[in-house]
């Protein structure tokens, strides 16, 4: 067997190029495409693509928590809310956007650790209920802490300012969101190729074996919650600036469920699945709406279409493709490459 050559101590995924493997040409093509989009288009779809990046950032966080560490959360919207309001507050008191974003990330990570404390004693359904309740509490706090959050009336978010530079244009927030999404993607990929990330997979699959391999389960769960919240906090800060307005009704259980559906449909446990899921989440309701528009006259927005679409898609995926769109893409990739390419990944 080709032992040495295969591992040669695994340099495959120890370099950036190796991490992408055979997907490298596709990845580069997509990056170039993303980079040139604003040159041709500045309207609706540019802002939709910005939201793909923002949802992907939050999605990477949830993937770490659920897909890697096996801890479910129905309260991710609360972390996004925390990021949004913290950055808004810090910028309002004049400390600037970079500090606002940093505060959004770190304070929300702290909030994640706080949630992890009770969560360490729970699993499965109980954890789902606990995190959901946490989401409700945060919703209530947003509505009532009017001096900071503006209550149900919400608050307007001014453009990000870096010194004299103002990032008010859609293409600016687009580039910022995608740059940060790629950084978060790289960090998540790094996690998977180093001990703490592997330890997350370990506690997901067998806590007893994890312990007897010297892994401190509670600590790894806490790290998963902290990282997940940190990414959601960053996504929340970006989200608030991309929309320009935040209010409590944006950060409800519906958003938490959207994120959950996103990574389930995209593919549990894979980073590429998060990106695919984010595209699905943002683009599919739009396409579906237009499809309906072909059969009905005019642009009447059909109420309840979004949950219906997501619900049906989720059932479809769970029935026919439990590993999500990601597995579908893998299969298509293998089919395109043909049997000659062979090999795994």
């Amino acid at each position: 067997m080709s032992k040495k050559s295969e591992l040669v101590t695994g340099v495959r995924d120890l370099t950036l190029a190796g991490l992408l493997g055979r997907q490298r040409p596709v990845a580069i093509a997509l990056l170039v495409a993303l980079a040139v989009v604003p040159c041709f288009h500045s309207g609706y779809w540019l802002s939709q693509l910005t939201f793909v990046a923002i949802y992907a950032i939050a999605g990477f966080g949830l993937q770490i928590l659920l897909g890697f560490a096996g801890q479910v959360s129905l309260g991710q919207a609360a972390f996004l809310a925390s990021g949004a309001y913290v950055s808004a507050y810090v910028e309002r008191i004049g400390l600037g956007a970079p500090l606002g974003f940093a505060a959004a990330i770190f304070l929300t990570a702290g909030l994640g650790l706080l949630v992890a404390l009770p969560a360490l004693r729970m699993a499965g359904l109980y954890l789902a209920i606990a995190t959901m309740s946490f989401g409700f509490i945060v919703e209530e706090v947003m509505a009532r802490w009017t001096s900071v959050t503006g209550g149900n009336a919400g608050i307007a978010i001014p453009a990000i300012k870096l010194g004299s530079l103002s990032l008010g244009q859609p293409w600016q927030i687009y580039y910022l969101s995608w740059a940060l999404a790629l950084v978060v993607l790289l960090i998540s990929a790094n996690l998977l190729r180093t001990p703490i990330g592997r330890a997350m997979l370990a506690i997901r699959d067998s806590e007893i074996a994890a312990r007897s391999s010297g892994i401190r389960v509670s600590r790894i769960k806490a790290v998963a919650f902290g990282l997940s919240a940190a990414f959601a906090g960053l996504a929340g800060a970006l989200y608030s600036h991309a929309i320009g307005f935040i209010s409590p009704d944006q950060f409800t259980i519906a958003m938490s469920l959207d994120l959950l559906v996103m990574i389930l449909i995209g593919g549990l446990g894979t980073l590429r699945g998060v990106l695919l899921g984010a595209v699905f989440l943002v683009v599919s309701p739009e396409l579906f709406q237009q499809l309906i528009g072909l059969f009905t006259s005019g642009n009447t927005e059909v109420a309840g279409l979004r949950p219906l679409l997501f619900g049906v898609s989720l059932i479809f995926v769970l029935l026919f493709q439990p590993d999500g769109i990601d597995a579908m893409v893998t299969r298509i990739g293998e089919w395109v490459a043909g049997p000659a390419a062979g090999g795994k990944r």
Binding site: K3, E6, L7, T9, P195, A199, S212, S213, R216
Partner: protein, 253 residues
Amino acid sequence: MALLEINDLSLQFGGLKAVDGVSFSVKENEILAIIGPNGAGKTTVFNAVSRIYRPSHGSIRFAGEELTRLRSDQLPRLGLARTFQNIELFAGTTVLSNILLGCHVHRRTGLIAELLFLPSARRQEIAFRAQVEELVDLLDLGAYLHTEITSLPYGVRKTVELARALAIRPRLLLLDEPSSGLNVEETAHVGELIGRIRDSFRTAVAMVEHDMSLVNGVSDRVVALDAGRVVAEGSPDEIRNNDAVKSAYLGVT
């Protein structure tokens, strides 16, 4: 001094005394087999040593440390590794990841270094993989490195679990029925492996085992348990001819 010293260990489940005043020891570089009929308390002793169960009485000293005061996740750092009767692997990931998880105890990097994949994290990964490679060569797992556990045959899974335990670089390896689920040839192969592991890593091995050909083939010493008590201790030959052992297995004669 012995590497592992179990003294007057007792463990109760409700009214049932699963382990009742058991004492034995494992010396450095020794292969010890623990035998006994079903329900004799063999696995329970293992689970007490690896702190999955809390003993109700007695002491377990390993390399000078009292294990009853420690958590199970602290034991590998002391040099204690184990496998499980029904195999406990990380099923959703690859053979490589599983064995690398055995290296977890030798981790020197912090979270930030890992998230940013700083040179220290990269060097560490390379070093870990070099260790994995050594084990993979020894155990002949090269063909399966990037295969997910769920698509592996049973025998290979047992070997992966062994590799993961060895990646801890243990001073004492606890094997819970290394031959269970294996056929005759595979069992012979495991016996040979256990001998090789002791010789090349200078690791002491304590194993719970039913297969007497394996026990006689590799062990230096045998401890026989019955109904939670030690009924005999000695060389494989002595145990084979011991009356108490015979009656434990065959009923009182």
